[in-house]
């Protein structure tokens, strides 16, 4: 009888530990938000070209285009068109627009008349394989820099897609790349507006 009770206690403890750890892992571990920043004051932003760490040449541009469109669609802030951003980059003399210095962020902010600049890094984009199974995966991180000070006020990342249990058991190629990209960007926007 005692053994039975002990066993049950162990099971309850294990479940509790698992649940607590599960809850902890869903927290905003990879999100940084400046507590002093008033995000409501950001009326317009410029999204700089994303740094592409993948082998797919146009992946960063695809992701950036989707990010810009979906951010615009939230109607929370106006996103400066890419042509204007390009012009701003040229005028600011930004050699590598994927990693601007603090000074350049300030200059860009003045040229483009925006309150914030967003930079991004595309870390993974494309098909991943494991044995016979394959699926699309994206991993992207973005940062928002305040144009007035050049400081990072928000940083987040998202990884979506990949091979799940369903893919392993049932096969299939996973969700289409555009779908996975959309999920990742939705996740980033959720982190921004939560």
């Amino acid at each position: 009888m005692m053994k039975m009770v002990q066993k049950r206690l162990w099971i309850i403890l294990l479940c509790h530990t698992l649940l607590s750890s599960g809850c902890a892992s869903t927290g905003d571990s990879n999100t940084y938000k400046n507590a002093l920043m008033n995000f409501g004051s950001v009326q317009s932003v410029a999204v700089l070209p994303f740094k592409n760490l993948t082998t797919d040449n146009d992946a960063a541009e695809r992701t950036r285009d989707t990010f810009m469109g979906m951010l615009l669609a939230t109607e929370a802030m106006y996103v400066v068109p890419p042509g204007e951003v390009e012009r701003g980059i040229e005028r600011a003399g930004l050699r590598d627009p994927t990693k601007p210095t603090t000074e350049k962020v300030k200059t860009l902010g003045q040229i483009l008349q925006v309150e914030a600049i967003i930079t991004g890094v595309l870390r993974e984009y494309g098909v991943v394989r494991s044995g016979q199974t394959q699926a699309n995966l994206i991993s992207v991180s973005v940062q928002m820099l305040e144009a007035e000070t050049g400081n990072v006020v928000w940083s987040a990342d998202s990884t979506k897609g990949g091979i799940g249990i369903g893919d392993r058991l049932l096969g299939g190629g996973g969700a289409p790349m555009n779908q996975v990209t959309k999920e990742a960007i939705n996740d980033l926007l959720d982190q921004l507006f939560e």
């Binding site: 009326q43 317009s44 040449n57 146009d58 541009e61 695809r62 285009d65 989707t66 810009m68 469109g69 979906m70 615009l72 669609a73 109607e75 929370a76 802030m77 106006y78 996103v79 068109p81 890419p82 042509g83 204007e84 951003v85 390009e86 012009r87 555009n178 959309k182």
Partner: protein
């Protein structure tokens, strides 16, 4: 005596009232309701499209000032308010042929309303069979080698046998040599003027080959348009066709077409029939779509008013690793789609190109504010809206069709984006049962994707009169 006094008092009061009524009506203070005496124009029906302004004048009696006049046009059972304000005249510049009905409604300061009867007015095509037409060499946007001369010759012969007065090859060749014309995908203002003055040409046929495959499973896609040689060239007709040999294979593939020449003839005949319809005075809307392929994501500014009169410039899309010339194919589809909307005036792509070259506007990442300012300027093309975008994928040569593109509509006056969308589709999306629902022609698939964007941007049924919504800038930004 008392009775007599009260009677005389009543009489005086009645007289005073009558006097007040007469005086007030004479001074326009409006105790009377407004009454429309006439709605007329100095021109008789029918008139040709693009033949000048037709001024409609309304005469109204009575009503309390100020009066508001609302002019409406009805086409195909759809009424649209084209002008609302204090002016009692409306300057109509019809661009499309068809049967129209015009009427005016008047509302005075007290809210009394009056409406005129509908007046029928017919607009004929801008051209007829006696018009002189120059046939430009076919532009190759297919990205592969194609028999452009043969396609052009066959199309030209079809038009000639249909009774069109085409400028002879020799004269056209001499003209292009004299003016060093190298680009045949559009016409700019200077060239249009020169053609009209030197050769007496009324319009130009511009044809673009979008897709060509002469293999055993052939395919062809063409877009053709008629452009008036006015000081500002105007598109009067545009249509496209995309067919493959596998469109209707029939039982055991017995009806499959394996000869590109058969397809080519069919495609050119379709275009010729469409052009004939236009010349016969029918308003052409193109073939009805099978189904629209909605954009996967889109944004539309909340205060964008789709029913207003807009002048739209479509600039080439930025090609991001898609196949060669894909950035020119998609804009052509948008030109074709937007041309169908009565409230939109689409600038001839050749004119847009001329301005981009003239001001050396290089768009490495789409139009900037500076580019938009130039295109929106009254001294250039005075575009209210500028449509641009990115093409990420356009596969029409081998295998299943695949398209991936995004669009941006830029408001020239507000200097802001009013529309963004992302569309992508594969030809075999949603195909589960044999080949049912499979797209074989990229042209057809693109047409349906573009159509869906057009319906979201400029919905025909949810029309709002221009002055019903006051523009208040962007809502939340």
């Amino acid at each position: 005596m008392t009775c007599l006094t009260s009677f005389s008092n009543n009489l005086i009061a009645l007289l005073l009232l009558c006097c007040a009524c007469v005086l007030s009506s004479c001074s326009g203070l409006g105790l009377t309701k407004p009454q429309i005496l006439s709605l007329q124009t100095e021109k008789d029906s029918p008139q040709a499209a693009f033949s000048g302004d037709i001024v409609w004048q309304a005469q109204v009696a009575g009503g309390t000032a100020p009066l508001t006049y609302e002019f409406s046009v009805m086409t195909d059972k759809q009424e649209s308010v084209v002008q609302k304000g204090p002016e009692n005249h409306w300057r109509w510049r019809p661009r499309n042929p068809g049967k129209f009905r015009i009427r005016v409604r008047v509302e005075d300061a007290k809210g009394y309303k009056a409406a005129s009867d509908w007046i029928y007015f017919r607009i004929g095509p801008a051209l007829d069979h006696n018009s002189r037409i120059a046939f430009f060499p076919v532009e190759n946007l297919s990205g592969v080698k194609a028999p452009l001369v043969e396609i052009g010759n066959e199309y030209r012969e079809l038009l000639r046998t249909a009774g069109m007065q085409l400028l002879s090859d020799e004269r056209l060749e001499n003209f292009t040599f004299r003016h060093r014309v190298r680009y045949s995908g559009g016409i700019d203002s200077e060239l249009a003027r020169a053609l009209r003055e030197e050769e007496g040409v009324d319009a130009v046929v511009i044809t673009s080959l979008e897709s060509f495959d002469g293999s055993s499973s052939p395919k062809i896609a063409l877009t053709s348009r008629l452009v008036l040689c006015h000081d500002t060239p105007q598109i009067v007709w545009i249509d496209g066709v995309g067919i493959t040999g596998d469109d209707a294979p029939g039982l055991l593939g017995l009806k499959r077409v394996g000869d590109i020449e058969v397809l080519q003839r069919k495609a050119l005949r379709t275009l010729q029939d469409s052009m004939e319809d236009y010349l016969a005075g029918e308003r052409h809307y193109g073939a009805p779509n099978r189904a629209e392929i909605m954009p996967r994501d889109f944004y539309l500014a909340t205060d964008f008013i789709p029913g207003r009169q807009y002048r739209v410039a479509v600039v080439p899309f930025l090609n991001r690793y898609a196949r060669r010339n894909a950035g020119f194919v998609i804009p052509l589809h948008f030109v074709r789609l937007l041309h169908r909307h009565a409230n939109l005036e689409v600038v001839e792509p050749g004119v847009v190109r001329q301005q981009l070259l003239k001001y050396r506007l290089i768009m490495q990442a789409g139009p900037s504010l500076a580019v938009a300012d130039v295109l929106a300027s009254d001294s250039t093309i005075a575009a209210d809206l500028i449509l641009s975008g990115y093409v990420f994928d356009y596969q029409d040569q081998f295998g299943t069709p695949k398209i991936d593109f995004s669009t941006r509509l830029f408001s020239g006056s507000r200097r802001q984006i009013v529309w963004w969308s992302r569309s992508y589709a594969n030809g075999d999306d949603g195909v589960y049962f044999y080949d049912f629902g499979r797209y074989r022609s990229t042209h057809v698939m693109l047409q349906e994707m573009v159509q869906a964007i057009g319906d979201l941007l400029f919905p025909q049924e949810n029309y709002q009169p221009p002055s019903a919504v006051e523009p208040s800038g962007f809502s939340i930004h």
